[in-house]
Amino acid sequence: MALETPIVEMRGISKRFGELQALADVDLTVHRGDIHALVGENGAGKTTLMNILYGLYRADAGTTRIRGNEARIAGPRDAIHLGIGMIHQHFMLVPPLTVAENVVLGDERGGPLLDRRGIEARVSELEARFGIRADPSAKIEDVPFGVQQRVEILKVLYRGSEILIFDEPTAVLTPQEVDDLFQIVRTLRGEGKTVILITHKLREVMAVSDHVTVLREGRNAAQLVTTRTTPAQIAVAMVGRELREIAARSGTPGDVVLEVSGLTAPSDRGGPALKGIDLGVRAGEIVGLAGVGGNGQSELAQCILGLRDASAGVIRVGGVDVAHDDPHRTRRRGVAYVPEDRRVEGLVLPFSVAENFILGKQDRAPYARRGILRADAIRREGARLATEFDVRPADPDIEVGSLSGGNQQKVVLGRELSESPKLIVANQPTRGLDIAATEYVHERLLDQRSRGCAILLISSELDEIRDLSDRIAVMFEGRILAVLPASEATEDRLGLLMAGHVEAVGERSGTSPA
């Protein structure tokens, strides 16, 4: 086994971006039929390394061998030719087309005419072989994230890929979808495919991978066999130190800060997204909003912020009705917001880190005086926040779009958590963050709670919800099915509620809003 030629062998890979050495002399060896986890902190160089393997970037130094032969991969076309496929974190699908059409789209073997039946048959065949469930005739715009991801996988398989790269595939999935994905990944391995998996979740590494490569600051930190290591050992290799455990604290709730009652709102595609929401969050309390993505959580957050018009109902912040306020006025009342999609809603990507830190505060002291920006104050604050929130590199002048995914998220969090808001609406605040950064954000949220801030935490990570929340509300199809005290919210019970089983509410806990 050990003597077999590795299917992927990258040696001495280096890559610079201007001043920044993103990768320095990195090795990666992957064996055929393996599930190989690639882990490391935000900005460690995981995506960059995979972009090199897939031909999106060219390495400054180093060699890549595929099946023992030196490969010159100048673009994705070469990579596809060599049997390498990449499932990006941002799906590249055409929403109005069907699953089957998306799978064959851009494939050069197909003729100019689409033979619908033939395509659907071939796609079904692939699905059967790899145990992937997705209705070939369904439109992409109608299927959830998890299914869209399966379409990306099918697309790659359709092109005959032998080596599949997944860049943080689980970040946007619900726990159930994660289980399904891992089942698919195991089937792929069973069929002789090789999988490279980037993830920040050690639980996932332990659950599916065979080997682990750890990167730290652009260098190899460890190469491990999963069965002969522990999560703690991986974490130490990633971070370079032991991790602290967050001491579970519980809040001392005060007055009601956020009060939502009878809230109804339309979705973007017509039809109701929210069907009469009642919810309260007190000062010094974290209320977790659990639920499978797309059940109205984001729409609720948008309504509170004033980004979406409610059709009926009341939203009060600190006793004042804000249902008809725009985001400017809502934020002025002390509401902070961490949007779900950092690249579209959270950040102005071409702006610098410092400029993004002042987004929404650009007309206020100390960043501006009488409408004139104060460049020195902006830079100073940018440098301070970049250091405090551990944005790497900690350079306030760098363009945010060039930061790694996790570091982009830190910029959003730095902006929203650095002041003293009355209410924080945080939608997936730790998506894409590494372990240490997640821990840091959790601590900041807990600090804000001790300060007396009310926090509405929306997350698809059940662990995160359960670790931080005082009470947990479960959303399903635009309604809140139950609000449970954290102590009663077992994983099973939450799972059942998230699937819409109201029976799981139980005797003792009601659905009262506050």
């Binding site: 071409p350 702006f351 987004l359 409408g371 779009g401």
Partner: protein, 359 residues
Amino acid sequence: MRQPSFEWTRGPAIPVVSVLFALVLGGLFVWISGHDPITAYAALLRGAFGSPYDISETLLIAVPLLLTGLSVAVAFRAGLFNIGAQGQLLVGAVAAGWVGAQWPDLPAIVLLPLTLLAGILGGAVYGGIAGWLKAARGVNEVITTIMQNYTIVFVMHWLLQNGPMQAPNAFGTPASAPIGAGAVLPVIVPDFLVPSSRLHAGVLLALLATVAFWFLLWRTSLGYELRAVGLGMRAAAQAGIDPRKRMVIVMAIAGGFAGLAGMIQVSGLFHRVYDGFSAGFGFDAIAVALLGKNAPLGVVLSALLFAAFSRGGTLMQSDAGISSHLVEIVEALVLFVIAAETVVRAVARRWGTPVKAVS
């Protein structure tokens, strides 16, 4: 904070390369048509910069190009496409011409600022209407500004032919009464330096406007908001920067720059408003803004380039006998290459470090 002029120097390669490319290709056309490209370009250069007088005439053409270029550029920065610089210029000219002729006896210290204000405000209101229609009704600004370009032309027919602005004893071309002496922008080049130069103080106003453009966008909160809306509308919106309000504001500002151009043409050059006056700046303005990458220094340089083409082209025709259409070909090629910039970038990506960020 990034510097605008910096932005341009960081990536001037593409505009410079496209201009050179267009010149070479244009030369090829000259050669095919049986002339000597070197002679042609020498004549063009001589025409534009050959004597102090030529230079001052070229600058004169550059002024409205620069201001309408700034008009398009400021809207671009906020993500809007202002096709209406031409119409806004005309409204500014009409407003300035009306004020200048209405109180002809006022002293310059009162009348000149009034005329200036009228020009800027006229353009701003006209541009602002397009912004408001977009913000309140979702009407595409490209459509409205194009329609506005036509509307003002017809309004001017009426105003100047039988309407309230018709000069009492105008012959030939319909025109307004001349503006008062106090509304005239003085010539700033003394006769002993450049004999009979027409270069007026409008040049200084245009440079001042360029500085204002830079200051607004990179030194004020409003400018920050405009750029944020242009580069990340949804991020700006959730942060409390209402994109719709900023659309109205930026179109008014864009109109103000163009309106200033109109005022300068009236106060500095023609001293009255003619029917069919100063046509054709709208599309050149878009070219100037695109080539200048919507950055202050870039817009100044490309306005100069287009002005040189315009003046040099005419002289090239009379001196070297080469059709001034060559200049139009070169201009079109420049635009074509700029538009193909995405292609150039894609090629650059294959060679070097990519510009795109990946998470």
